[in-house]
Amino acid sequence: MIVQTSVDGLRAWKKNRAIKSPWIRVLILLVIIAYFILASQSVEINFERIRLGLSRIGTMFNGFLRPDFLSRGKYIADGVLESVAMTIVASSICLFLAVPLSLGASRNIVPLPIYLVCRVILMIVRSLHVVVIGIIFVIMLGFGPLAGVLTLMLNSVGFIGKLLAEDIENIDKEPLEAIRATGASWLQVVVYGVWPQISTRFIGLAIYRADINFRQSTILGIVGAGGIGGVLDTAMGRYDYRTAGAILLVIIAMVLVAEYISSHIRRRIV
């Protein structure tokens, strides 16, 4: 906005404000402040409860600082192996479902009806939190890693499908036109025009997702869908904080290892 200044004849420039009227700006600010005051009054803070809890944190940390790997070592080992197996199975199967779905959910390469169907599927899959899906599968299929694998798979399909579709919609349009102009079939356009433009991104996503899957497999055990999380939940329930501490250390170590491996692979490929 150019402002005419009177004294020296110089013209000044100021960036336009998003909200023009100063009255409305002040009003919005007042509303926000009022909201914070009201909201803070609605929170009940029970200091007695906090004092009790603090001492429990003490016993918990005490246990965590002296982790006990051995007394329930077999369960921990089994749990970790199960989590790793769930991660690998779910992460690999999801790719076969995610790729076709993401192609279908890209407006630039499929007709509108297919696009809408795939987008709706992705939206439904993504609308539920992984724990909610986990509970549903546990109810449907009973306790155990099968429910966990299906949960992770569904969640990964939604994740990779959506992000990959976004990438496909952002690819360079001209090479696509050029491949189409040669008389190539739809699949050939995908293989020659689309895939080379998204392949590194796809591999990066797949590895990143495997990473997430391992972390999520630890929480799924808590709702009974198999993996190390179940062992952790049991240990916590029995106030066996030394075993719980050991399990947490194992999880952290595994996540770090997974992180290291995935970043190493990604650096090699991309």
């Binding site: 036109e177 050029a178 102009a181 040669t182 008389g183 190539a184 699949l187 050939q188 020659y192 025009g193």
Partner: protein
């Protein structure tokens, strides 16, 4: 009725969903072996027009008859068969960056190759051989396995030319082939295209906004303005009044003398081999 023209476009209209009318009833005939340059200001509809010919853009109404076949009515499969006979060269080269030069050239043959064979890069030996010949012809034999994004602009356009020609097309559509190139490379690329077009006996429609280049290399010039053909004639008939008709009022003589001098200097340089 026997078609005497290779391409005959009649009453072609293209309205975009935004309401913009890019082509307002274009009539145009292209003869076999003709080098036709399409000139006109930005937004005149040049790109839309040539994209309608191979239906990268769907025309709203009108007819485009190529070798007796109305392209506008073709179904998916028949359109693909028709597209195989129409090569296209793009302004920004439109190569697939992460594929190698060879893969980019071979992609011109996709319409003739089965899907699974093409996925595993199993092209027939004679196709691979002609790809090698073409790369040799455009001076890129040493770059067969380089990725397309490692090449310079001029080199990339040469790959684009090879990709279009390996289709063995009857008709070549060229969309602003030189707009992203420096003046010298632009001339070399134009010269290469025209040489190859004569060698392969093709008809070609070249979109080009550089009037001088158009006059240098084309046999016929068609001027498009606001989606209508406003000029159709030989290059030497294009004078200031014609330019004004196509582009609007402007002092066309300004700077012309300097251009004329440059032309003399450049006359003797050949298509250079890529360094």
């Amino acid at each position: 009725m026997v078609e005497k023209h290779m391409v005959s476009i009649s009453n072609l209209v293209k309205k975009y969903p935004s309401g913009q009318e890019a082509l307002k009833g274009v009539n145009l005939e292209v003869n076999a072996n003709e080098i036709l340059a399409l000139i006109g200001p930005s937004g005149a509809g040049k790109s839309t027009l040539i994209r309608c010919v191979n239906r990268l853009v769907e025309p709203t109404s009108g007819k485009i008859i190529i070798n007796g076949i109305d392209v506008c009515t073709l179904g998916y499969k028949a359109l693909r068969m028709q597209r195989r006979k129409i090569g296209m060269i793009f302004q920004e080269y439109a190569l697939v960056d992460r594929l190698t030069v060879m893969e980019n050239v071979l992609s011109g043959q996709l319409g003739y190759t089965g899907t699974f064979k093409s996925i595993f890069r199993k092209f027939p030996p004679d196709v691979v051989d002609s790809a090698i010949k073409l790369l040799e012809r455009v001076g890129l034999l040493d770059y067969v396995d380089s990725r397309a994004d490692q090449l310079s602009g001029g080199q990339r356009q040469r790959v684009g030319i090879a990709r279009a020609l390996i289709q063995r097309p009857d008709l070549l559509l060229v969309d602003e082939p030189t707009a992203s190139l420096d003046p010298k490379t632009a001339r070399q690329i134009m010269r290469l295209i025209v040489e190859l077009v004569i060698e392969y006996k093709l008809a070609v429609i070249i979109n080009i906004h550089d009037v001088q280049l158009a006059q240098m290399f084309a046999q016929r010039i068609v001027g498009l303005r606001d989606g209508i053909v406003v000029y159709d004639g030989t290059p030497d008939q294009v004078d200031n009044s014609v330019l004004t008709e196509i582009y609007g009022e402007e002092d066309w003589d300004q700077g012309k003398k300097r251009h004329a001098q440059e032309e003399d200097d450049d006359e003797d340089d050949d298509i250079d081999q890529v360094e």
